[in-house]
């Protein structure tokens, strides 16, 4: 017998007490938990996102679309970044004011190539206010997963309020399971030494989030 046959046969023998008539969708799962915690206006939801991002040591900035290129130029300059990797589908205007070498995300790049890059600039798929989480789904303005992993400085632009959801239950239906997802809540951290939280291990040690208001706002 193959390992598969052995394991499945054992499972079936182990479940001899389960009534024959019980289907795989029984017993029912009570889903009386909240879809979102508390009621908030759209502005309050964005405010909560900003608070929770900052609470886990992400640096939060706000701007209107017209101000984005200048803001990004300022953040990169303050960091002293000379090279920045950008996903293929990123709006080129975002980097139009920055004096850095933009490096497109390429399939031929090795991890070592990326380690030599100072910063990465991306959009996101959505952000979750209650948990202060950014979700990337490798879309055109986000690129391959590794570009937001290897460089030490990540600038992520969130379009508010369109890309902001309140809670985890509101986030999942908007995400496609077949895409590779990365959920990011603050810069990398560890609690492995005396269960004390320390920011900055293997992922980008600096995470800057730009909350970009829709046209005519902010």
């Amino acid at each position: 017998m193959s390992g598969r046959d052995v394991v499945l046969a054992r499972v079936r023998r182990a479940l001899a007490d389960v009534p024959r008539g019980e289907g795989p969708h029984d017993p029912p799962v009570p889903r009386d938990y909240r879809r979102v915690h508390g009621s908030r206006t759209v502005e309050e939801t964005v405010e909560l996102l900003a608070e929770n991002l900052a609470d886990y040591r992400a640096v939060v900035h706000r701007c209107a679309p017209a101000g984005l290129p200048a803001l990004i130029a300022r953040l990169l300059a303050a960091r002293g970044a000379r090279t920045v990797v950008v996903p293929a589908g990123l709006d080129p205007r975002w980097l139009s004011a920055a004096e850095v070498a933009a490096r497109p995300d390429r399939a031929t790049d090795t991890a070592r190539d990326l380690a030599a890059v100072d910063s990465v600039l991306t959009g996101c798929a959505l952000a979750v206010a209650e948990t202060g989480t950014l979700v990337l789904d490798a879309g055109p303005d986000q690129g391959r997963r590794r570009i937001t992993l290897v460089p030490d400085h990540h600038i992520c632009v969130v379009r508010v309020p369109d890309q902001v959801v309140g809670s985890v239950p509101e986030a999942l239906p908007r995400l496609a399971p077949e895409r590779p997802l990365t959920w990011i809540s603050g810069p990398s951290a560890t609690s492995d030494i005396e269960l004390d939280r320390v920011e900055g291990v293997h992922g980008p040690r600096t995470l800057e989030v730009v909350l970009m208001a829709a046209d005519g706002e902010g």
């Binding site: 997802l181 809540s185 990398s188």
Partner: protein, 497 residues
């Protein structure tokens, strides 16, 4: 090369040593108390915690009751997304499969994400025998590996080490495995984390094979989920060309929607965060992004034996958050190593004996590694009634009875060493059935109370080593009641004033 949990002594012997280690107790008390309070705050933020907990338990129960269905669905979904699914009935089979898969890549080194399942099966040792070096990349696992040590906590395997000890291990050992620790490394956690970053960077950038576990596997979509903090998980899951994930069959959940429950329950219970820094989900392989080959090894290794016990199977709901360890008075004092397996604490006390078919002195002693205070049940995010299972397993140990071992039903004999307990329980049962005997016995005990020893003789001695014997009152409650109220106040019986 590294130590293993094989041949560990029974819990009382191991705990007798560890409870005398003041540094271990100080490290554990500090760490568990820190996280306990943080967890309580993180949980209190959600006013529907009880509902989430009930939903989490129900999702897991549904999956377990139809595990064959969901495993077949999962296999189909993973294969449809470009992954390869392998099945391993036990540790040896899993190790053989992984070793073969690594060999087929031609590589001699692998990078690993922290994984309980691979600890359980001794994968690193099996790979080493085949000439393949496995690098642990989680900070705590790195500390354990460099220190030639054993993990002692589910979330923080090096919790028994304080910052000074970690600095010493890094200074002494890092150079033997790769990039040495920076000159003048101090014991500040920030500097220690930086040293780990530098040490592991080289490994990540060159690794061709990654090995992981998974926190969840979604049957309907074939998606695997790894929840982590440091980014070492992302490194191992996205940079190598080949990814091999070894996952216990009980990690299956039916639907994508089910993640909305567990992604709220797990981080708050585990690291006491609203959300952990990084969560990666992947479904098979994606062109041009991440590994080109993905292998999923589904691991049984005693899980189906556990599933066969209708009371004990709730242990398979466990999502490895470690909240039960952090609140356990026994864990806090005895430490994780005394539990003799990668699963310490209350969950280990019910999981290890069941995974190993209740065979051996360690497994028989673990259900007793508890005061039955119930704190573990209260904090468990999937409502595993650990005290209930502990008592159930104690009964198996004392009375014997049927268990499943490697898929076969065997009947356990009553364990040796519990003869006095069994005799006492039988005598008590008989006395309670015979009121005259009970009354006579209590009067005899009352009249001879001055002659009672301070310590029990014979097999009872161990019990009274650490406990004061209760003093027998001069008059039993029944006699007192009869004397003061019983005869005169028959009409008031049952009344409470």
């Amino acid at each position: 090369m590294s130590r293993s949990f094989l041949g560990m002594p029974a819990f009382p012997r191991a705990a007798a040593v560890s409870t005398r280690d003041p540094r271990l107790r100080a490290n554990l008390a500090h760490a568990t108390h820190t996280i306990r309070d943080k967890r309580a705050r993180a949980v209190a933020e959600l006013d529907d915690w009880a509902q989430l907990r009930a939903a989490g338990a129900a999702v897991k129960d549904r999956t377990l009751r139809h595990l064959d269905h969901y495993l077949e669905q999962l296999e189909e979904s993973v294969a449809a997304a470009g992954g390869h699914v392998h099945w391993a009935a036990d540790a040896d089979e899993a190790n053989r499969i992984v070793t073969r898969l690594v060999r087929e890549t031609g590589e001699r080194e692998v990078v690993k994400v922290k994984s309980m399942a691979t600890q359980e099966i001794g994968l690193n040792e099996a790979l080493a025998e085949a000439g393949i070096r496995a690098y642990e990349t989680d900070l705590a696992e790195l500390i354990v590996q460099l220190g030639d040590d054993l993990p002692s906590h589910i979330l923080v395997p090096a919790i028994h080490r304080n910052r000074g000890e970690i600095r010493d291990i890094f200074r002494r050992e890092m150079g033997k495995w790769g990039r040495p620790a920076p000159e003048g490394l101090s014991d500040s956690p920030t500097e220690l984390a930086e040293a780990a970053r530098l040490h592991l960077r080289e490994k990540f950038l060159t690794a061709k094979v990654g090995i992981s576990g998974a926190n969840f596997m979604v049957a309907e979509t074939g998606t695997l989920v790894v929840v982590e903090s440091e980014g070492n998980g992302r490194m191992c899951l996205t940079l190598p060309e080949t990814l091999i994930s070894v996952v216990g069959i009980e990690k299956t959940v039916p639907t994508w929607q089910d993640l909305e429950v567990f992604l709220q329950l797990l981080p708050r219970s585990s690291t006491a965060e609203r959300m952990n820094p990084y969560t990666t989900t992947w479904t098979g392989t994606t062109d041009g992004d991440g590994p080109r080959a993905f292998h999923l090894v589904l691991l049984d290794n005693g899980r189906t034996d556990t599933l066969a016990d209708a009371v004990g199977r709730q242990a398979l709901r466990c999502i490895r958050c470690s909240a039960c360890l952090n609140v356990c008075p026994v864990y806090e004092r005895a430490g994780g190593h005394a539990y003799g397996s990668p699963y310490p604490g209350p969950i280990g006390a019910i999981l290890t004996p069941q995974l190993r078919g209740m065979a051996g002195p360690l497994e028989e002693s673990l259900p007793y590694a508890s005061s039955l205070c119930g704190a573990c049940y209260e904090v468990c995010p999937v409502a595993i009634d650990i005290p209930e299972v502990l008592v159930h397993l104690r009964e198996r140990v004392v009375e014997g009875g049927p268990v499943t071992r490697r898929g076969a039903r065997v009947v356990l004999k009553p364990a040796k060493g519990h003869a006095a307990e069994r005799a006492a329980m039988r005598a008590a049962a008989w006395a309670f059935d015979h009121p005259g005997v009970l009354r006579g016995g209590m009067r005899l005990a009352a009249r001879t109370r001055r002659l009672h020893p301070r310590r029990l003789p014979g097999p009872g001695r161990a019990w009274s080593d650490t406990r004061a014997l209760p003093t027998v009152p001069a008059e039993s409650f029944r006699d007192w009641w009869r004397r003061t109220r019983g005869d005169a106040g028959g009409s008031e019986r049952g009344g409470v004033k």
